[in-house]
Amino acid sequence: MSARFDEHGILVVGASLAGLRACAALRKHGYDGRLTVIGDEPHLPYDRPPLSKEFLAGGTDGADLPLPVAGLGITWQLGRRATRLHLAARTVEVDDGTRFPFDGLVIATGSTARPWPAAPAGVHTLRGLDDARSLRAALRRDGRLLVIGAGFVGSEVAATARGAGVDVTVVDPAPQPLHRAVGEAAGEFVAALHRQAGVDLRTSTKVVSLEGVRKLTGARLSDGTEVPATAAVVALGSAPATGWLAGSGLDITAGVRCDRHARVLRRDGTPAPGVVAAGDVTRWPHPWADAPGVTLGHWSHAAEQAETAAHSLLFPGAPASYRPVPSFWSDQYDVKFRSVGLPALADSADVREYDLGARRLDVAYFRQGRLIGALTGNRVARIAAYRAQLAADLEGR
């Protein structure tokens, strides 16, 4: 039943959580052949969520970031960026032209932050460890930070920087932070947290231009005002890292398109033999989402889909199915936000608790009258109950 990878073994492209979890699952299922991981960063896999929180605040030196890799028997090819997939020849080419042959392939290249075009020095994005290190150094040097975009990364960075005593301005074109992800009420709750903490929050506003000849000095906004800034974080979301797959024959429209078994689909809609994918880079079907499915940047999604991908690669005759109740978290100020389901796909919301003083929030999200997600602030016991309800709904579909 299991597939054979005797000649070249299994190649994993992407050395973050999804790639590492795929390796661990392959070994757990008994695969003892050659296992090679290509990563574009010079670092072994590390934990990313603290980069916008504890690590950025300086509360840790990063010694706790590395993920455990011992005992997996991985050959690491770090600091090498995949540039091309030759599907028929079954090789992956990297930036110096070297080609790595494979019998089985796991695509786990994640996503990249959308940059600001032609930015002066002092403008950062935040995806990797090196990004976080340079931003942390900038925040220590001087104290006026501009955060462009009030999504999860932008809001977490603003909260962390404010907690470290930095003057922070946040600019977002939406009427509330996190508007698209969690809607109006939850967004207003986060807006209130920012304002209470002394963040200069400018909603329904765009950054028109960044000022500074060589080094950032400030920004011009769509309402005609100017804000001074010595550092900026561009937090305008991310895009699946699929550039290296152009021309490969795979369907990379808005992410690497997978089926529910984490098998990668070609442009004709059929699975490419021996090729699976996991994590932020994928677009995949979910019973709650319309075709062609969802793309998620959640920690749990990367970890769980990688297990499915590994199983489907090893046992092509009996592939596993991936039908999770998605979940994510975001810690901002003294509030632990926890979410389950897919609140971004809701068409209505029911605010069940909104207590800014007690720092508590409870919002249920519905799509066509059925529960599709929930978000709580400092109410973790309730999120477990919502999760159970959503899991029961999935069972029935």
């Binding site: 455990p68 749990s300 926890r338 016991a381 477990a384 999760r387 899991a391």
Partner: protein, 69 residues
């Protein structure tokens, strides 16, 4: 098997409660509570819970005390 949770690491992500609700739960004050031992029949669920913890706070030990996860 024995189950240990490092409460200094625990950040109440709830992933263990989702994976093994028979072992892990939250009390009314949102504190994590868990069974300290579990029958071997629950090993799969407990291992899933340990793997799902984003801060790696859960350890599973065999009855002899050998660390297994």
């Amino acid at each position: 098997m024995k189950i240990q949770v490092d409460m200094d690491l625990c950040e109440s992500h709830g992933q263990c409660v989702f994976a093994a609700p028979a072992i892990f739960s939250f009390d009314d004050d949102d504190n994590l509570v868990h069974a300290e031992t579990a029958d071997e029949s629950l090993r799969d669920a407990v291992e899933k819970a340990a793997a799902a913890c984003p801060v790696r706070a859960i350890r599973i030990e065999a009855a002899t005390g050998d660390a297994a996860a």
